[in-house]
């Protein structure tokens, strides 16, 4: 199918001028992918939160019960899961601040793409600090 305009646009309407629709933050490229990632990380964090409240509630059952479930968090596979979780939280946090800046800072929408790359940069720095330390804790437990 050709993507040529077929003249359905009334005169004076906002016909697309380029390959993608203009004038929107949330369609295509950085604006859209940050939004997609914000949703996916948000869902993941929410479901972890449900589990995390329940596992912590075991302190009210018995010390042994809590320690038993905590020992499952210390195995290497869960350790990798925790790394992914912290990655999701860090992205959601930094991108959330980017969203606030887009909404409340006059120049926010203008710099939203730059801010997306700042988010990615901060995320990389955060993970570079966190991942080696956490994996050290997790894998020194093995054996």
């Amino acid at each position: 199918m050709s993507r040529t305009e077929t003249g359905t646009h009334a005169p004076g309407s906002l016909a697309p001028t380029g390959k993608r629709p203009q004038g929107t933050l949330y369609r295509g490229r950085e604006g859209m992918w940050s939004w997609v990632l914000h949703r996916i990380t948000g869902i993941a964090i929410f479901f972890f939160l449900l589990v995390h409240i329940l596992d912590t509630a075991l302190v009210r059952v018995a010390p042994e019960a809590y320690n038993a479930v905590m020992s499952t968090y210390k195995n290497p596979i869960m350790g990798l899961g925790e790394t992914a979780l912290v990655g999701a939280i860090a992205f959601h946090a930094y991108n959330g601040i980017r969203i606030i800046l887009i909404d409340f800072w006059t120049k926010g929408p203008k710099y939203q793409k730059v801010m997306f790359y700042v988010v990615i940069g901060l995320w990389v720095v955060t993970m570079a600090g966190f991942v080696p330390r956490h994996l050290m804790h997790v894998f020194s437990e093995v054996g």
Binding site: I43, R60, E64, Y73, V86, G96, I97, H137, E141
Partner: protein, 150 residues
């Protein structure tokens, strides 16, 4: 019933909200306000529990006992619980509204969200404030060191 069709592209006029609270607006504000506080609370939580000391290796009943015998961490965790649970559930509500196309499905999913918020916030708050770091009859080696120093 007569249906009036407006002229194409006539300017969209917002119906003036004469009465009632604009819940969607305050929900929108809540996501941003709670988000900022949660960044501080959760980063602090992660640094203290996963980065400092022996990280996740050190987390056990005695570790929690040490933290929650201090009102500072009780308030910290309680605030984190309430803010995060409501922030998360409200975010999930947005997704349900976006992706669940049937009215009944939306109702069921949002009902489940409301249910989980009420149950988990109640449970979590009770756990934080009724927690006993030195439960009677528990093996002393599982408890915080201050339990045996009586």
């Amino acid at each position: 019933m007569a249906t009036t069709i407006e002229a194409p592209r006539s300017p969209y006029s917002r119906a003036p909200r004469s009465r009632g609270i604009n819940w969607e607006k305050w929900g929108w504000m809540y996501m941003r306000a709670s988000g900022l506080v949660l960044v501080v609370l959760i980063f602090g939580h992660l640094i203290v529990n996963l980065v400092l000391g022996d990280g996740i290796k050190a987390i056990d009943f005695a570790f929690v006992g040490g933290k929650w015998s201090n009102p500072f961490w009780q308030v910290w965790d309680c605030l984190m619980l309430w803010l995060a649970m409501i922030h998360g559930a409200n975010g999930m509500r947005t997704l349900v509204n976006d992706y669940a196309s049937h009215r009944t499905t939306r109702g069921i999913l949002k009902g489940a969200l409301l249910f989980s918020v009420i149950v988990l916030i109640t449970l979590g708050t009770l756990v934080i404030f009724t927690f006993d770091p030195c439960p009677a009859g528990a093996p002393a080696d599982l408890l915080a060191s201050f339990c045996s120093a009586s």
